[in-house]
Amino acid sequence: MEQAVIQLDHLSKTFVSRKTRVDALKNVCLDIAPNQVFGFLGPNGAGKSTTVRLIMDLIRPTQGRVLFAGEDVRNNRSASRAIGAIVESACFYNFLSGRDNLVLLARTAGHNPGQIPALLDQVELTGQEHKTVKNYSTGMKQRLGIAAALLGNPSLLILDEPTNGLDPAGMHEMRLFLRKLVDDHGKTVILSSHMLSEVELICDRVAIIHHGEIARKGAVKALLSDLAHLRLNVRPVPAAIQLLENRWQVELGECDGDRGWIAVTAKEDEAPAVIHALSTQGIEVFQVSPRKQSLEDFFLETTRGEDTHD
């Protein structure tokens, strides 16, 4: 099996102040394999940013460790230099130009500033690089953040809300750009986003963090197909529910007398079996429609409707 690029090994973080104690992360274990786009989702205060900060060695774990390519990031500075990140939002020195900000970051990391024109070109900031960052729009700052994260050609990119401030065309381009980084350049991208439709379109795998714990994780397609529903319009409803709930999970929908809608957590290819089971017992089936869950439905179900910002 391929070695995970990032391993969170029983990671816990507790913030203690004079009056409060917050367990931001509780014994989190997670392996992220290379060469994929990994989505990191969670409601407000779930622990997403804390996890990212732990990976970047900006905060120290109370317990556990973060391994990058098998080595503890705290003991291996070159590891964290091989990770490019935008943590929460792209923050720069507003009084410097976009280019000067990149030069400064490149020198801090010991990278060659010669790569900066190509990076600016890649994020389409060529021609704007001499403006001071205070005159940049949110989208420009975001793109500059991605250029900063790409300095030194890191093998892992961690991007928090990378499409923030981008227009629909910009979002589409960003999706293509990130996919290209993974598919053509063999990089790994971890992204957190509150735009779940975006995550669904771009991510190969996701983890949902909730109250400091990993609530769900897995391949996006598998997670969604596991929770796919069939919606059936049947009569009589009570008999249909009694019959089907032996094999599937059944939920009652709208009813009109003894005819009504039921939702069965069965995959699309199980539809013939469901219909057969009902019809052999004399239950009438008027309509059958597959209802795929979106990542948003899945997320809301997992987190019970809390907001996604962290």
Binding site: F15, R53, M56, D57, L58, I59, R60, R77, S80, R81, I83, A85, V87, E88, S89, C91, F92, Y93, N94, F95, L96, D100, V103, L104, L105, R107, T108, A109, G110, A148
Partner: protein, 290 residues
């Protein structure tokens, strides 16, 4: 380290608005002030010599802005404000999270402190270079006779004294940079850092008076001898040993302890290493949550 210092230099002087009112204020503002005052005094009938000696004297005296009481009590403040803002700003602007993953924390902090001290010395150095010729130019402008050129023996003594003052100023600047960084690490806010670093600077400068006062209150007159552990005494004492071959005469009542040159250097080095270690230890333990 060179790359880190270059990055820090770019950042510090890249904040043009702040640097104009704090760093460049010295060579430009003071230069203009000296020019205007010289013209006024010379037009009022004073001789060039009465202005404060030949060009070499104001050049040396410029360094007092950060090293000598009372000039330094206010002279340090703009530069200290600059350093406090540029240190605590990293927390308030959220820029630490971009910088810190790219290198070791201790290296980043040491580069910041060194560069800030270099900027201070650079600003005061420029001021000192300007201050001599400015008065000379004022005298020429009005047609007042200037002093004769310095003989070569005086000139060589001047350059030695100048190098010594610049060196003392650099070490004093290092301590001021430590005050600013320590205040930033502790408060994580620009305003808190400004207030605390100003407070530390005043405390350090007024330490002999404060120690004397506490000595009187506690009936421990020897307490004033604790002044030997403060940078301003150690740097003054070192200057005195190098220039005159004797220890510094503080003229403080009850001050009886005098340090020889090697002990002074040793204590100075210990203070610098101690201050650096404290700041690095605090920084390494910190969670960067902004």
């Amino acid at each position: 380290m060179i790359n880190l210092i270059r990055a820090e230099w770019k950042k510090l002087l890249g904040n043009r608005m702040l640097a104009s009112f704090t760093v460049w204020l010295y060579p430009t503002g003071l230069g203009a002030f000296v020019l205007v005052m010289s013209i006024i005094h010379l037009l009022g009938g004073e001789t060039y010599q009465e202005l404060g000696g030949n060009w070499n004297e104001p050049m040396l005296a410029s360094w007092n802005l950060i090293t000598q009481f009372p000039d330094a009590s206010l002279g340090r403040l703009p530069l200290l404000a600059f350093m406090a803002v540029m240190s605590a700003g990293e927390y308030e602007w959220g820029t630490w999270k971009n910088i810190l993953p790219r290198n070791r924390r201790w290296a980043i902090l040491v580069a910041k402190i060194l560069t800030m001290a270099l900027v201070m010395v650079f600003a005061i150095g420029l001021t000192s270079i300007i201050s001599g010729p400015v008065r000379y130019a004022a005298a020429n402008l009005i047609g007042v006779q200037t002093a004769p050129s310095l003989p070569s023996s005086d000139l060589s003594m001047f350059w030695s004294a100048y190098a010594l003052e610049a060196g003392i100023a650099f070490f004093q600047s290092l301590f001021l940079a430590f005050f600013a960084v320590f205040a930033a690490l502790l408060t994580r806010t620009i305003i808190g850092s400004l207030l605390l670093s100003f407070g530390l600077s005043f405390l350090e400068m007024l330490s002999p008076l404060i120690l004397m006062l506490f000595g009187r209150i506690l009936k421990m007159p020897g307490l004033v001898n604790g002044y030997i552990f403060f940078p301003s005494y150690l740097l003054g004492n070192l200057r005195s040993w190098i220039l005159n071959g004797v220890y510094l005469n503080t003229a403080l009542a009850d001050f009886t302890r005098n340090l020889n040159a090697p002990s002074t250097v040793l204590l100075l080095a210990s203070l610098l290493i101690g201050a650096a270690s404290l700041c690095i230890w605090m920084f390494n333990r910190q969670d960067i949550t902004a």
